[in-house]
Symmetry: C2
Subunit: 477 residues, 2 copies
């Protein structure tokens, strides 16, 4: 019993210390482990299985829009990285440099890719000749490296896994359409599968990607009221095409530059799943992304027929991702582990249940307990998983909406940022000076100019000049 | 027409220059492209789709044996790489070194993983405490880097994709069993899915993996009679466990070292698919691994209803991986492309076929043409794909067997190696001196000591001393 207590006690409560709670959960749910390499994390089976499911869902959605997967080298020669001015300025300070291969120094040093625009541009300049070659809709799943000083599992690390899509189009319209299309793919995926509602919008110039003409983003609100940028989609216009000379012959036989996009989503999103849905017992996984949806836990498993019955229930639930915990731990210990890992449903089955042809189903999020007839088990499990998925999205939406404030003037803005965690909607004149001032004085940054605009006032919340746009502001990860 | 000829003419014939034929095929079938990074290749959609199918098939087989996927950092600190003596000696001369992160030099340089034994050992030493924690059956899909001086697409490159499984077991028997089990998984996959028959066996000490107690291998014979090592599985015994202090408490509460294995298969196997099955028209893909199994090519597609009919056939064949080539190229050009890409079946459908409620099916490997009623299309396609898969394996087996010789003495051995491409079976005394001599004098290396042993003579083919084992010898990629 002492050991069992330890597992539960070891988690800091969310309200007491949210950062510590987060660290406890990723460690205790065995999502990650720290490695001997500074700033790099190890994705353990429970963590990687989440990423595999994310990959499967997103990859299908990408391919449905015509995207094809490729794999590019992990190294970028320094001269190639330098071809697009804004891009190199944005990334050069945080890349890792390879200077020796085998026993010899390299003639030109190579950086480990922080992102692969330059490599895709180099390829496109070789393989795009005619309008017939367009569009090119390539994506890759890989890891990238950014030499960050601090690190937190999933949220910030020297190496992380992601996908990066890179497309080339004949016209500016096609590129803009693809940029928005992929942002919508991300947002729909997050809502439908991860039960995380997203604010879709455009980044300000200050916050956009190095080398992009426009960056679009999806922003989510965590349990502690901080925002998390969860995926971005960039329209490069023809800036990279000009730097890399990517031209095609159009139908009138004229040379034209292509228009490009890129879009990425990373393991960071796992941080969002944890911080949107988790509670003081650990992870709570949305059923549609959970690697294991149902854990069958035998009660008094030494009694005759119990383990066999548990195995029978697993087979009966073949339509779902089910496991039986038949280890020699106590049921209470198994409950704690199942809760810590966020497995959506547990089914308790013991000798008394068997006699009554029933089982106990416990929902992870609400801890609601129902006793169901074994004849109805499949139907009940399906219904509970669906209800739980919908309820989780709805709860996240309510949390976000009740943590979204409106500020009409700067005093109100400062007050609300200081006292109430969450998003603040306020008007903005479009000047970087006001963004800088707000960040410096309140710690809040512009998260995005949402597609769904409202006119709160006519003037900028900071300087009082004519407002150009409503902006979501907030403290962010 | 001039342009169409070009595609076909551009391929060197296999018999004329096999190496050039290979290079032509990987380029023309758009499997890879060369990159601006020396020795690194780009996997284009046709090449990466093959790898995706390989991953899907293997990953399922791994998981069926209880394996779980993880992701480890791509960097290894120099001090960690040096912990196991043989291992570091084997790999240090060919690794890439990261010496700077951002704008600062690193305190300790990091190598980009050439393989990840050291990282897995480091993790296992942290997470394995009791016999309850065993076995650990982890695998990762990733890229690795080995600073090779020469490169050939798929066969040898600075960076390549692979999977590496790393397991830890309570006993030596469990480790040996797992080593053989995974070798069998590889061999079965290659035979059943890639239609490539494998020789399974053990490597000699000279050829085994750096740090391994025993290395097992699957060896295939290419069209030109050279051997290709296609997958390896290593038993480490407790060597790494002692170097990394990976101990567990057994049921009697005694401390024991774990026993470990690792096993890997890489994009190299795509080179085998090309070189075992390809012909002078390009790739020939086994149906079970082909990203596209059927290409529907409309004839006179400007005529009313032809494109609609082609689309209808695609829908009808929903159980297979089907595409319609509705580009504005000529049918002849489309045929050449489909053949170059190795798509197993093409279906030709034109106005006359439509009138007769029929279509023409052409098999890629034999070029056999059959006219089938549209009512039987599904059944026919299924049957042809199955027959083709079986025929390809059988042809590869016959080719290998007719290119496998037996040598009873050294004169015969030298003669056959010099004149007849292929494997040579001959006896060996077990001494490295003989292996070295054979390699130096004939260019052949020991491929493996096959599980299926025969006693050709009683004495070593090289030195005449008592033989210990029959060995497959051959020139290799």
């Amino acid at each position: 019993m002492a050991k069992e207590k330890k597992l539960v006690e070891a988690i800091t409560s969310m309200d007491e210390d949210f950062a510590q709670w987060y660290t406890d959960v990723v460690k205790k749910a065995e999502l990650v482990d720290y490695s001997s390499v500074r700033g790099c994390m190890i994705l353990r089976p429970n963590g990687y299985a989440l990423w595999e499911n994310i990959q499967k869902e997103l990859d299908k959605r990408f391919k449905d829009t015509g995207v094809e997967n490729v794999y590019m080298p992990m190294f970028i020669p320094e001269s190639l990285l330098q071809k697009e001015k804004d891009h190199v300025e944005g990334f050069a300070p945080e890349v890792a440099w390879v200077t020796h291969g085998g026993l010899e120094p390299l003639q030109e040093r190579l950086c480990v890719r922080p992102t692969s625009e330059t490599l895709f541009c180099d390829l496109y300049s070789n393989i795009i000749q005619s309008y017939r070659d367009l569009p090119k809709l390539y994506n890759q799943w890989c890891s990238v490296v950014r030499w960050e000083k601090t690190s937190r599992p999933f949220l910030r690390s020297v190496e992380f896994l992601w996908q990066e899509g890179h497309t080339a189009h004949a016209t500016a319209e096609d590129a803009e359409e693809r940029t928005i299309q992929m942002l919508n793919v991300y947002a729909d995926f997050c809502e439908q599968i991860l039960a995380i509602p997203m604010i879709k919008g455009k980044k300000t110039d200050k916050e956009k990607f190095a080398g992009a003409m426009a960056t679009y983003t999806i922003e989510a609100l965590m349990h502690d009221g901080k925002a998390l940028q969860s995926g971005t989609s960039h329209n490069f216009g023809d800036g990279f095409a000009k730097a890399f000379d990517i031209q095609y012959t159009d139908k009138e036989n004229k040379l034209q530059y292509v228009h490009q996009t890129s879009w990425g989503l990373s393991t960071r999103i796992i941080g969002a799943i944890i911080m949107v849905h988790g509670d003081d017992s650990g992870l709570v996984l949305p059923p549609r992304i959970a690697p294991i949806q149902v854990m069958v836990i035998p009660i008094a498993q030494h009694k005759e027929g119990v383990l066999e019955k548990a195995a029978e229930l697993k087979d009966k639930l073949g339509a779902f991702r089910v496991k039986v915990d038949d280890t020699d731990k106590s049921p209470g210990w198994k409950f704690s582990e199942q809760e810590m890992r966020g497995i959506p449903i547990r089914i308790e089955i013991g000798p008394k249940d068997m006699e009554a042809n029933q089982a106990v189903i416990v929902r992870r999020d609400t801890r609601e307990k129902v006793v169901v007839s074994l004849d109805d088990l499949e139907k009940e499990v399906e219904q509970i998983l669906n209800t739980m998925q919908n309820d989780m999205l709805e709860r996240a939406r309510v949390h976000r909406d009740t943590h979204t404030s409106v500020a009409a003037d700067y005093e109100a803005f400062k007050e609300v940022i200081a006292t109430k965690p969450g998003f603040v909607k306020a008007m903005w004149c479009g000047d970087k000076e006001c963004e800088d001032k707000i960040k410096e004085e309140t710690g809040a940054t512009s998260r995005c100019m949402p597609f769904e605009q409202e006119e709160i006032t006519e003037t900028c919340v900071c300087c009082g000049k004519k407002a150009k746009s409503m902006v979501y502001w907030g403290k962010a990860y």
